[in-house]
């Protein structure tokens, strides 16, 4: 195999593995702020138990996120040196901002969050929780800005630098607020909130099913469910906004999302299989004219098809079509599960309904799948470009790296990530089975009257 395909495989593998963790940190971070805020407000020890328990999970997830994140930062240089030379000037400021503003904030206050219960005042601890949560979202901001710039470059010009072309920044804010960054950031963040919320829902449902830590689990569910309902509905809005943005900024990507070849009024597929040779969607279930309607508010308006683009400028259609549609389907399912659970919360029916609890238990995987599929749609949909219409992926490789070296590193990554993943599951399982430490003694209800939620 050649260096290009090996480097693509390695990048895809390492980024996909990395992206299991940051969404959990971001989502769980928001929930920790709510949980600890409830504790400070009510003084009810149960919320301290909840917060302490989820901080343990958070620290585990965060540690793996950092370790696999270092790999990503190195890989731009090791495997994609030509790309690094081309984008360094633009990408640089975003990355510098991420390092200075976000990484130090997160990792610094994390030390207090995890190890500081007995060393700082409750207010200082709460402040640290807020800072860690804020920092984790801030790192999402800068990395999504950099990635969005690759999708929709803005605020730059191309300069000849000692015989090599590269992009140089002309307008920092135009680069930051490039046409797709806000939509994609909100879409990414709400995906992350869903990931955190469904992790808490799943573990809590497990406790209720096992008849353990009932009070703990019910309160956790209420907190997580409020975020899940908000994020799943918000995701619908940001998803729609992103798709309309793509129709103007990256029409070839949108055409691939829907397997749309000829410029004409376009249907919205619910599912199907793209036959690239015959240029049609087989076994498709579609709403006629719906895509045109969603974008232009008119079912008759033509949408640009793939045939408007040269064959060498098109992404692999069926992969993008499938990942995009699966992502949308999961998004819809998450809305359904969230709303149904909320409805069933009346009279605590949810806590007695084994079926729904089992659904919650397994649905921890759904946002994870949706996140991965969404990134596949976004990144494979951008191909063959690494920077849209400026640099092709195949031209972005490191020139001094041989395929043998990449095979070696790929094997190393396969080994260490297998070890990391086993470690993660093992520790997660232990922490969940161990459950929250019960530190709620007689004083657990010392300020019951202040509670916001009624006791169950």
């Amino acid at each position: 195999m050649d260096t290009e395909i090996l480097s693509r495989i390695q990048f895809a593998f390492t980024i996909a593995f990395h992206y299991i963790y940051p969404p959990i940190s971001i989502g769980l971070g928001v929930l920790l702020v709510i949980m600890e805020g409830m504790y400070l407000r009510t003084g009810n020890k149960i919320y301290e138990n909840i917060t302490r328990f989820w901080i343990k999970i958070f620290s585990l997830v965060f540690a793996i996120g950092v370790a696999t994140g270092i790999v990503m930062e190195f890989e731009f240089g090791t495997n994609w040196a030509t790309y690094s030379r081309f984008v360094g000037d633009v990408f640089g400021s975003a990355l510098a901002a991420e390092g200075v503003f976000a990484f130090f904030l997160e990792s610094g206050f994390l030390a207090i969050l995890v190890f500081g219960w007995n060393r700082v005042s409750p207010k200082m601890h709460f402040f640290s929780t807020i800072m860690v949560s804020f920092g984790s979202m801030l790192s999402a901001v800068w990395i999504v800005v950099a990635n969005s710039w690759q999708q929709t470059p803005a605020g730059y010009h191309i300069v000849n630098n000692g015989g090599f072309l590269r992009a140089e920044i002309t307008d920092f804010w135009a680069m930051v607020f490039n046409p797709s960054s806000v939509d994609r950031l909100l879409h990414t963040l709400s995906g992350a909130w869903l990931t955190g919320a469904f992790l808490v829902l799943s573990v809590s449902a497990y406790y209720i099913l096992k008849n353990r830590h009932q009070d703990f689990a019910k309160k956790s569910i209420k907190i997580a469910l409020s975020l899940a309902v908000f994020a799943s509905l918000f995701q619908l809005f940001t998803g729609h906004h992103s798709a309309s943005g793509i129709s103007t900024n990256q029409p070839a990507k949108l055409a691939a999302f829907e397997g749309h070849y000829n410029t004409s009024p376009a249907p919205l597929y619910l599912s199907g299989w793209v036959n690239n040779r015959e240029q049609k969607v087989e076994f498709g279930i579609a709403i006629p004219g719906m895509l045109s309607y969603l974008i232009y508010g008119d079912t008759e308006k033509p949408v640009k098809g793939l045939n408007e683009f040269k064959p060498e400028d098109r992404p692999p259609v069926n992969l993008v079509f499938q990942s995009y549609h699966l992502m949308v389907a999961i998004g819809m399912a998450l809305i359904g599960i969230s709303l149904l659970s909320l409805f069933m919360l009346r009279n605590d029916f949810l806590f007695r309904n084994k079926l729904m609890l089992k659904i919650l238990l397994i649905s921890v995987l759904l946002p994870q799948f949706a996140n991965q599929l969404g990134w596949i749609s976004a990144e494979v949909g951008r191909q063959p470009w690494i920077v849209y219409y400026l640099l092709r992926t195949k031209d972005a490789l490191s020139k001094s790296v041989t395929s043998g070296e990449v095979i070696f590193s790929l094997i190393l990554f396969a080994l260490i990530y297998a070890l990391l993943f086993v470690l993660f599951l093992f520790l997660l399982d232990r922490k969940i089975k161990h459950g929250p430490d019960d530190i709620s003694g007689a004083d657990a209800v010392y300020s019951e009257y202040k509670e916001i939620f009624q006791k169950n």
Partner: protein, 338 residues
């Protein structure tokens, strides 16, 4: 002073911050197996427990700053030292796993195995970092396209490996002083004895490396000849090293730690003066060297990043100080420990 020089200094500051901070936790790791008994080893690991993760962030940020300020250096070095960097990543992750995993099972064999993993990976990281610095001094083979044209084995030359060993010795000294600061009783006595041994080990390495540099790479001394005032830094460095055993003897452990931090900082300054204005020296064909001018981002980007750094740096310094203040004093093992 132009923006390129400012960024040369800032990247240097980040790398120095990394060397001082991760230096002591790598040093604690390198010496870990010398500590016997499970309780003492737990104290050893937990002395760096709350901070090692944050210390590594300095590496991430230094890498990011290099990418942003000198993209050609980042691209050339990371792709040229491909296998070395992959090994570095592997041991960095492996070490993190070892710290997290070690105390999760009671079994003696389990803990012993992870102790070994923790210690060896700490040593390899220090060695690799030092060897990389060594190759910047010896120079690597670059083409007119700014690409590395040597092999992995050519990076493992005797001089660079010697710098690698010196770095390891330096971190061991730094880590042992940190342990003296963080421990008490019998464990502290052991650590204190180790400070003396590691100072001797480091001093021997340091003298050897200095002689080798002056003989084989006299270019590193060129700026010192032109500006004799820089000799003050070399003298301060000597004084900082000599001050360590004195402070330890007087029981002023924190001052000893500051002294060894100063040693690391001054060594980095000596290194920076030596290579200036090159970032990657090309050997042979010095005309292909990557300098702070031909490998830099545009003036506009350097300016934007400077503004970001000026806004952000006070925050970074204050968090670092706050965190180290919170964890000041001796290690306490509680339910949140490793």
């Amino acid at each position: 002073m132009d923006l390129n020089i400012i960024w040369f200094i800032l990247v240097g500051v980040l790398l120095t911050g990394y060397a001082i901070l991760d230096g002591f936790d790598l040093g604690v790791g390198a010496l870990h197996l010398l500590t016997k008994g499970d309780e003492d080893r737990r104290i050893s690991i937990n002395s760096i427990g709350p901070v090692w993760d944050g210390n590594e962030v300095w590496l991430v940020t230094a890498g990011g700053a290099l990418f942003a300020a000198f993209p050609d250096v980042y691209a050339t070095v990371f792709s040229g030292f491909y296998t070395a960097f992959m090994l570095l990543l592997f041991v960095l992750i492996f070490r993190a796993v070892a710290i997290e995993f070690r105390s999760k099972q009671e079994s003696k064999h389990w803990r012993n195995a992870w102790d070994i993993a923790f210690s060896i990976s700490s040593i390899i990281i220090a060695l690799l970092m030092g060897t990389a610095l060594g190759n910047i001094i010896t120079g690597i083979s670059l083409g007119p396209d700014k690409e590395f044209s040597g092999t992995f084995l050519s990076l493992l030359n005797p001089y660079s490996l010697m710098i690698g060993i010196t770095t390891t010795a330096l971190f061991m000294m730094h880590g042992s002083i940190y342990l003296v600061m963080k421990t008490e009783g019998e464990l502290q006595n052991q650590a204190r004895n180790r400070v003396n041994n590691t100072i001797i080990f480091f001093s021997i390495c340091f003298v050897t490396v200095t002689m080798a540099t002056l003989i084989y790479y006299p270019g590193m001394a060129a700026h010192f000849k032109d500006y004799p005032v820089f000799f003050i830094i070399a003298i301060l460095n000597m004084l900082a090293i000599a001050n360590i055993p004195r402070e330890i003897h007087l029981g002023r452990n924190f001052r000893a730690f500051l002294s060894s931090s100063a040693t690391i900082g001054l060594l980095m300054i000596l290194f920076a003066i030596g290579i200036f204005p090159n970032l990657v020296f090309s050997n042979p064909n010095p005309e292909y060297s990557l300098t702070i001018y031909n490998a830099a981002s545009s003036q506009k980007t350097l300016m934007i990043m400077l503004i970001i750094a000026i806004i952000g740096m006070p925050f970074v310094v204050s968090y670092t100080v706050i965190i180290h203040k919170v964890y000041k004093g001796k290690v306490r093992i509680d339910e949140t420990s490793y």
